[in-house]
């Protein structure tokens, strides 16, 4: 593998010893495979390589609209975009994630210029989150063992975004409806990433699942 890739995932140290084959995605070193085939009942994936940025401030919503970014109307909700998503973390704070790094780079560049809309300023927020994906029929069981939120009871049509504590770590969680199941996206401060990954993976494995590569 190339350990001289410019970026390493915040979860890299958590799985480094178990991975033999590596790839570089969006300039970040990621596993090409975790070595287990088949379709386990629950999988945990590292999707930290997705490009993302954040913005904050009274003018953030208007500024995003001016950039052609769809803005969720409700706080604590999210909306899908063509290649990613936009999450509204508060009245004036947003997380934008996109598989296309260039889209995020453009937004970040503009933000760093100190943008101001009619409703006020808009500040950039560096987002180097650890980003995880929990999927499979047993995914909700992992959440039930780690988090005091009834995800099964959420109305997914409203795009709810949950800010809560998971195994003692502050996380953002959204549930994404997929053709055959519901997958959960989880973001946390990168310095808690390895702890969160190791703890979740222990439970995932108890349930017959394992780490898996998710194609971005």
């Amino acid at each position: 593998m190339s350990e001289t890739a410019l970026r390493l995932s915040p979860l890299y140290e958590a799985y480094r010893e178990q991975v033999a084959d590596w790839a570089v995605v969006n300039g970040m070193t990621l596993p090409r495979a975790f070595g287990r085939s088949g379709l386990p009942p629950v999988t945990l994936s590292d999707v930290s390589a997705l490009a993302r940025c954040g913005c904050k401030g009274p003018g953030a919503a208007d500024w995003l609209v001016s950039q052609g970014v769809p803005v969720p109307a409700a706080f604590n909700s999210w909306t899908a975009t063509e290649n990613g998503l936009v999450a509204r973390l508060a009245a004036s704070e947003f997380l934008i994630e996109d598989a296309r790094a260039e889209r995020i780079e453009t937004l970040t560049r503009e933000l760093s210029k100190g943008r101001r809309s009619a409703s006020g300023p808009c500040y950039p927020v560096l987002r180097e989150d650890a980003a995880l994906l929990l999927a499979g029929p047993q995914a909700n069981e992992v959440l039930l063992q780690t988090c005091n939120i009834d995800f099964a009871g959420l109305d997914l049509a409203t795009g709810p975004l949950v800010m809560t504590s998971m195994v003692g770590v502050s996380v953002l969680v959204i549930a994404q409806k997929r053709p055959t199941d519901v997958a959960y996206r989880i973001w946390c401060d990168p310095t808690f990433g390895c702890y969160l990954w190791r703890t979740l993976l222990e439970i995932v494995r108890e349930l017959g699942g394992d780490a898996a590569v998710h194609t971005l």
């Binding site: 350990e3 401030g57 987002r127 310095t191």
Partner: protein, 971 residues
């Protein structure tokens, strides 16, 4: 006792025999048996010994409360205090009774009963009254009483913690609970149902009353099937407590489920209560419901010939159940008067207005007969008219106590019903409903109606909170149809005693009278003095009788006496369940792997693990740290400072905001510069410090202490909300990595990695720049915490490892070396730089630090300024000073060692180390102002009480003019 022929609904699987041992003797039972049922079926009558007198004991309830049949059970490791009455039998299981000396049959401690006259109530406390006797009695009590033995070789069991959610939680899978679940399911609610038994149905499947109970069992099975199909069902599980907002811990065999419900139906039933008479503890004296469970679940005849002591309809139902299975009924003894008898099998002798004067023991200590006497008008028994009946079983059915701890914990208002002779809920809090026996409703049909009403109300409440009154659903009619299920005083004195009120602790009736006589005549005081209800069953079979006894003593009603507090967990929970899987959040910088590869020795710093130093083969810790220090002073070192808090401030008012929160001035601060900041609370106490960099007119980036980032961010957010300034605050602590490159060669190491002009003239000391470093967008701060030319380089966290690698690569030719926290501590100590929370504490104010240069008291305002002004007018209480040790060979002080003056503490060491640069032991200390003058002598008391001397010195100890931090590029 014998195993009955196979019958429908029995819990045992006769096709799966299981072999096990008890007290070393081999037995056989069936899958589905409990340890107790298998032993009873094998004819074993004595299952344990009592706690205090070591009397032979056996089954009482067969309902999870047989505390005199606790066992030490061994498989791969030994488990103490296993409840044999509910623990499933397993192949190869090895069980022994707890609390015996020499085994249950020949327990050598049984002689203790002879000493009973010398062991009055409160003996335990009286024995400990004199301190000098404490060790003696402690040894005696530990040897002669107690329960099982903890096996310390047992493996730690990491049982998972699990949350669960439902609309309606129904606690109790008996008739009322099943009816509640059915009604809630019909209303469309998500229902969870909990029952402590392995199968649903409760008394609906064993309290049958003979053949006419088949319709009742059929209805119970129908409801159980509906619940199993529609609800999430937890069997062999119990709700161990109730917490606010309908939080209920459910203890399952493997783990605890934290259930959050929108509404809760408590249908926990009732504990059948024993009568109190002489020898009411003999093996063979059991509760009637226990006998019915034996019959229906395990197909065991509890005896060959029985006497039934009844004071309600349930006693007669039990008699009919016994007769239906071929057990001979010697007599039904009814405590009530004439015309209260229920239906009995033809030819059964019924003695109304009689009671049990005493139970008689055989040579093994088990029941062989009873003496039955008529009741006098005052409720006592006339022993002279007693008749003897031979029997090997005595069934007691004289009353019930609602299983109401969860209702108490939920805040239900309980009242004593004289009609029912039971505490029942008068009002429940919103979303909590009671049903069935715990609600004072005892008839089968009535329980179904009561349960259904509770289930409907709970479902409605779960859909729309507040839609249903939180008071208990109307159940007066159902209660009225229950008759009087409990006798008001089924308690009988006997001149020879041994009439037990509490089987856990061997408390006799006389003990309560003696306790009251000694002044403990309040139910809470009596509980603690007599220890009633403080044993393993927590009073489930003794509290109600204790209340009745105290009421009798005081001439009050049980309602006036009241009940004791029922705290969670109200039933024992395995420690492994309570511990569960451990969640201990740990933070790691993105350089964790690089440190590990460099043989870092870790030390905790809040939630972080940081390299204390980097181990080198064949080198001591001290030598390794000295080498790291030497590298920084002589060449170049690199340290991961990513744990520092990192916060950004944006907005037109950002500068003005800093003016208010830090003690320094920021209004005139130039873009591209840094400044040291000291943060105080409103009382002037130092709470944090850091470096503030101005990156733009409206953009600041600053660091906080490692442990202070979250606190500082929260406080700034609070102040911003209060002051309403145009400021945006972003906590980027984890999102930026930070590396401090320090040492005279640091510029040469950094230069190849960046196009930035690093010359002293262009990028001077205390400057701040943004530039590309090793291909990464970076923020560089020229700071000098360790007192050398240095660059603190901040990059996005994902690039940290790359930057580290590049620095190590270009630094190799310059002798670069990573250094850890210990080396950094020494380097900054040589410079006299403080560490907030090490050199300060929770009361150290800024005036005491000798850092007046950092306090701009002429500013209009900063947090803590007013307090400093006030304190400035008063004499100071302490001062932070530097010192050098006079004679290092006399002993090395440690941090927190005291400075002594005139035999009184006059300060303490906050930092200390041997400085290679100074060639002496140097340190910082908070001392009394009188000792703070340079040249003063400090007398320090070290380990062992010895005194060493130090002299107050100027700081910094090293490079006082800060020349090394400003080295020109030619240096």
């Amino acid at each position: 006792m014998k195993r009955l022929p196979p019958q429908a609904g029995e819990w045992i699987d006769r096709g799966k025999p299981l072999r096990f041992t008890f007290e070393g003797i081999g037995y056989e039972g069936y899958a589905g048996d409990t340890i107790s049922s298998a032993l009873l079926a094998a004819g074993v009558r004595v299952l344990g010994r009592s706690f205090k007198y070591h009397r032979p004991r056996s089954v009482l309830s067969l309902a999870n409360h047989d505390v005199n049949a606790l066992m030490q059970v061994s498989s791969c490791f030994s488990v103490p205090n296993v409840r044999a009455d509910v623990t499933p039998l397993a192949e190869g299981l090895r069980a022994t009774a707890v609390n015996t000396i020499g085994g249950v049959a020949r327990d050598r401690a049984r002689f203790l009963e002879w000493l009973a006259p010398f062991l009055p109530v409160g003996f335990y406390y009286k024995a400990f009254h004199k301190k000098s006797q404490f060790p003696f009695w402690e040894r005696v009590f530990r040897r002669t009483t107690g329960l099982g033995t903890v096996d310390f070789s047992a493996r730690r069991k990491g049982s998972p913690k699990r949350y669960a959610f439902c609309d309606v939680l129904v606690i109790g899978g008996g008739p009322a609970g099943l009816a509640a679940a059915d009604a809630a399911l019909r209303a469309g609610a998500r229902v969870a149902l909990v029952d402590e038994n392995p199968r649903l149905g409760g008394s609906g499947l064993y309290n049958l009353g003979g053949a006419d109970g088949e319709r009742q069992a059929e209805e119970t099975r129908r409801l159980a099937a509906i619940a199993a199909a529609g609800a999430v069902v937890y069997v062999s599980s119990y709700a161990a407590g109730y917490y606010a907002d309908h939080w209920v811990p459910i203890v399952t065999p493997g783990h605890v489920v934290k259930m959050r419900a929108r509404a809760v139906v408590v249908a926990t039933g009732a504990y059948e209560q024993p009568a109190v008479f002489r020898n009411n503890d003999l093996p063979g004296v059991i509760l009637a419901s226990a006998a019915q469970r034996m019959l229906a679940r395990y197909s065991i005849a509890p005896c060959k010939r029985a006497v039934v002591l009844a004071a309600n309809d349930d006693g007669y139902r039990a008699a009919r159940d016994l007769a239906a299975h071929g057990v001979e009924i010697a007599a039904v003894v009814d405590l009530r008067g004439a015309n209260s008898r229920g239906a009995v099998p033809p030819g059964t002798l019924v003695l109304e207005g009689h009671g049990i004067h005493e139970a008689l023991a055989d040579s093994q200590g088990a029941l062989r007969g009873v003496r039955v006497a008529p009741l006098a008008r005052d409720g006592t028994l006339d022993g002279y008219q007693a008749r003897e009946f031979e029997c090997d079983g005595l069934l007691m059915s004289t009353g019930w106590a609602g299983a109401a701890p969860l209702l108490y914990q939920a805040g239900a208002r309980m009242e004593f019903s004289a009609e029912l002779q039971q505490f029942v809920p008068a009002a429940c809090p919103p979303g909590v409903y009671a049903a069935g026996r715990v609600n004072g409703v005892h008839g089968f049909a009535q329980k179904l109606r009561d349960g259904a009403a509770a289930g409907r109300a709970a479902a409605a409440q779960s859909r729309k909170p507040g839609s249903v009154d939180g008071a208990a659903p109307s159940c007066r009619q159902e209660r009225a149809q229950s008759g009087m299920p409990s006798h008001p005083y089924p308690i009988f004195a006997h001149p020879k005693g041994r009439n037990f009120v509490d089987f856990d602790e061997d408390l006799q009736l006389k003990d309560f009278f003696n306790a009251a006589q000694e002044g403990f005549d309040n139910i809470e005081l009596m509980k603690r003095y007599s220890t009633v209800g403080m044993g393993p069953s927590q009073g489930k079979h003794s509290n109600m009788n204790a209340i009745r006894v105290l009421a009798k003593i005081l001439g009050r009603t049980p309602g006036e006496v009241g009940s004791t507090t029922a705290r969670p967990m109200f039933h024992p929970v395995p420690m492994s369940h309570l511990g569960g899987r451990g969640f201990m959040p740990e933070r790691a910088t993105p350089l964790e792997g690089r440190h590990a590869a460099a043989s870092a020795v870790w030390m905790p710093a809040g939630q972080w693990q940081r390299p204390e130093y980097y181990a080198v083969e064949n080198q001591t810790r001290e030598a390794a740290i000295r080498a790291e220090v030497a590298a920084v002073r002589g060449a170049v070192g690199v340290i991961d400072v990513g744990t520092l808090g990192k916060i950004e401030l944006f907005g037109r008012d950002a500068g003005a905001f800093f003016e208010r929160i830090y003690t320094a001035k920021f209004a005139g601060m130039k873009v591209g510069s840094t400044r040291y900041g000291l943060m105080l609370d409103e009382s002037g106490v130092v709470i944090d410090d850091g470096v503030i960099a101005r990156l733009g007119e409206e953009h600041f980036y600053f660091t906080t202490t490692t442990t202070g980032s979250a606190t500082v961010y929260r406080e700034l957010t609070r102040l911003n909300a209060m002051w309403r300034m145009e400021v945006g605050i972003v906590n980027v602590t984890g999102h930026f990595a930070a590396i401090n490159l320090a040492g005279p060669r640091s510029r040469e190491v950094l230069a190849p990695l960046t196009a930035l002009d690093l010359s002293e003239a262009t990028f001077p000391y205390l400057g701040a720049r943004e530039a590309q470093v090793a291909g990464l967008p970076a923020r560089l701060l020229r700071v000098g915490f360790v007192g050398e030319l240095g660059y603190e380089i901040h990059v996005p966290a994902s690039g940290a490892a790359h930057l580290w690698d590049q620095l190590m690569k270009t630094g190799a030719a310059h002798g670069i070396r990573p250094f850890g926290v210990e080396a950094q501590r020494l380097l900054r100590l040589e410079k006299g730089h403080i560490i907030v929370s090490q050199d300060t504490d929770g009361v150290t104010n800024a005036l005491e630090l000798g850092m007046d240069w950092a306090l701009k008291m002429d500013k209009p305002f900063f947090v803590g300024q007013r307090s400093l002004e006030a304190m400035g007018r008063l004499p100071r209480k302490q001062a932070l000073v530097g010192f050098t040790l006079d004679e290092p060979d006399t002993g090395m002080p440690k941090e927190c060692h005291l400075v002594i003056e005139s035999d009184e503490p006059a300060g303490r060491i906050t930092s200390i180390a041997h400085s290679p640069a100074v060639g002496r032991v140097i340190g910082l200390a908070l001392v009394a102002p009188a000792l703070s003058k340079v040249g003063s002598t400090l007398n320090i008391r070290i380990d062992g009480g010895r005194m060493v001397r130090a002299t107050v010195s100027e700081t910094p100890f090293y490079d006082p003019k800060n020349l090394r931090q400003k080295q020109p590029e030619t240096a």
